[in-house]
């Protein structure tokens, strides 16, 4: 049974060979077979990745907008939303690191407002 099932597609593929070259090319263009490379019993196939939509966002309002504009070019909102209560000095150090090490486009004149927005975002520890 298993071998018969496997033969089905193989027979179809043989039938395909008899089609005109132009028709074959058109079919291939419509559904390109994934390219592959084989060797030593292993086959590697070309691959793609579709990333999901981001769902997390900062609260609406000026503070949320400021964080979105300054921070989310490089990473999604969860990175900030998941941080523990860090305090103003640590948030300032994070901004300096993002700007210094990763060249994030954060205007220094925004720092004070951004630190205030980030600390304001965090629920105080009970």
């Amino acid at each position: 049974m298993i071998s018969a099932r496997c033969l089905g597609p193989a027979l179809l593929a043989v039938a395909g060979v008899s089609l005109g070259a132009a028709a074959m090319a058109a079919r291939q263009a419509a559904t390109p077979a994934p390219k592959s490379i084989s060797g030593g019993g292993i086959t590697l196939k070309s691959d793609t990745l579709t990333l999901p939509e981001e769902k997390a966002a900062f609260p609406e309002g000026a503070a949320g907008e400021l964080i979105t504009n300054n921070c989310t070019a490089c990473h999604s909102a969860e990175m900030i939303l998941n941080q523990p209560l860090l305090g103003a000095d640590t948030w300032k150090a994070e901004i300096d690191k993002m700007r210094g090490a990763y060249h994030a486009q954060i205007a220094p004149e925004d720092d004070a407002a951004l630190v205030a927005a980030l600390t304001g975002l965090q629920t105080p520890r009970p």
Partner: protein, 407 residues
């Protein structure tokens, strides 16, 4: 073990029932269920997600660049972590979204006799090498640091074990011919930094790179590497943290002096102290690049906070690792470490991989109990109770405890 089903799995089941009842199954199915990582001071809640291609339910730490954590329940009973539940961690947003196996090349350059560009066909023709090895994020368990530190707020699930198939790095470097002045090999991949940010590149000393165990993998647990895990090839550095396991590896540069790039000189540094630990107010201590892993062990069949039967022996099982040597023993304690009960370990499937363990502890009297699990490695290194702290949130490998209520 159905009576002790972990919290996470129960929530999954509940959310399935809820979705079925609504008669409308859409993508936020898993996002409706939250897992609580119980991080001290919070926030510990994370959504579960199935939105990532090729992935089962994962703890969503960050959607871009992806940080996906493996629920401890997904590791239960699996010495080899399934690819679809293996944790994911990328640094930069611009990760490879398409790889053509025909045009892909691995470039080897720098202090070599002959720079070369190897195709995947070239690599597939080379002698094969296979090894079981744990891939653990340097910051695994960072969320449990006290005081808390900034960074990815992982629970204990930025870890997984796989069988890696590929070629020895040594064999690849030999094809280019390393010259006598080479001291390190620097590895980078297809992920692209934001404008002006440093390329994510990590280096190993040449002797380490040539040790015959560091390898380039094209398969993970018998399947080609998923895109999220670095297709088409990634570096595997057995016994060392995953920061060195460069994904979508396309460039190896032999250096004639030690790497002074950002990712070696500034990032992923640990205090050069026992257990990489310092006092939270310490300053001016020497640091070194993070390197080898230490022993760890986890209880995987019951979650923190569950109720257990007071009248019957409690069956526990889990996973242990030795770090750079194998697992010698695993012990359990119900009295805060005053006495220890040996666990039975499963087959040794490679000293760099997980080892399964199981134990039955005597019936617990009614009330709350703290269960502790400790691994001792073949090199005699044992997990301890003393807290480990450093500002990077790295290298946490203390004895893990969970609390159960016997009733």
């Amino acid at each position: 073990m159905a009576d002790a089903s972990p919290l996470i799995e129960r929530r999954r089941a509940l959310s399935l029932i809820a979705a079925g009842g609504a008669g409308l199954v859409t993508s936020p199915l898993w996002a409706q269920s939250l897992v609580d990582l119980h991080l001290p001071g919070g926030p510990g809640n994370r959504p579960m997600t199935t939105d990532f291609p090729g992935k089962g339910p994962m703890i969503l730490q960050r959607s871009r660049a992806p940080l996906l954590e493996t629920p401890m329940a997904a590791m239960d009973g699996h010495v080899f972590t399934p690819n679809d539940r293996f944790f994911v961690r990328w640094h930069y947003s611009d990760i490879p979204l398409a790889v053509d196996v025909q045009s892909f090349r691995l470039n080897i350059l720098g202090a070599v006799k002959q720079p070369i560009a190897l195709s995947l066909a070239d690599l597939l023709k080379m002698p094969r090498f296979e090894i079981a090895a744990i891939n653990q994020c340097s910051g695994n368990s960072r969320g449990y640091f006290e005081p808390r530190v900034p960074g990815a707020q992982w629970g204990n699930g930025a870890i997984g074990n796989a069988k890696w198939t590929g070629v020895r790095l040594k064999d690849v470097l030999d094809r280019a011919g390393v010259t006598a002045n080479a001291v390190q090999a620097r590895f980078s991949g297809l992920d692209t930094p934001p404008p002006d940010a440093p390329l994510f590149a990590k280096s190993l000393d040449l002797a380490h790179a040539m040790d015959g165990e560091v390898m380039i993998a094209f398969e993970m647990n018998g399947a080609q590497l998923p895109m999220l895990h670095g297709f088409p090839i990634r570096l595997v550095v057995p016994g060392w943290y995953s920061t060195y396991w460069v994904k979508a590896l396309d460039r190896i540069e032999l250096l004639d002096k030690p790497d002074t790039g950002y990712w070696m000189e500034k990032a992923y540094r640990i205090p050069d102290t026992p257990h990489a630990s310092v006092a939270p107010d310490a300053k001016g201590y020497p640091t070194v690049p993070i390197n080898r892993m230490g022993p760890r062990s986890f209880i995987t069949n019951i979650a923190d906070g569950v109720r257990v039967a007071a009248s019957a022996p409690l069956k526990l099982r889990g996973l242990a690792m030795g770090g750079i040597s194998g697992v010698a023993r695993v012990d359990l304690s119900t009295d805060g470490g005053k006495s220890w009960l040996p666990a039975t370990t499963g087959p040794d499937q490679g000293k760099y991989g997980f080892r399964a363990w199981e134990a039955a502890i005597p019936a617990l009297p009614p009330g709350d109990h703290t269960l502790a699990v400790r691994c001792t490695s073949d090199s005699g290194e044992a997990q301890g109770f003393d807290p480990i702290w450093n500002p990077g949130g790295f290298m946490r490998n203390m004895i893990e405890t969970i609390t159960v209520r016997a009733a």
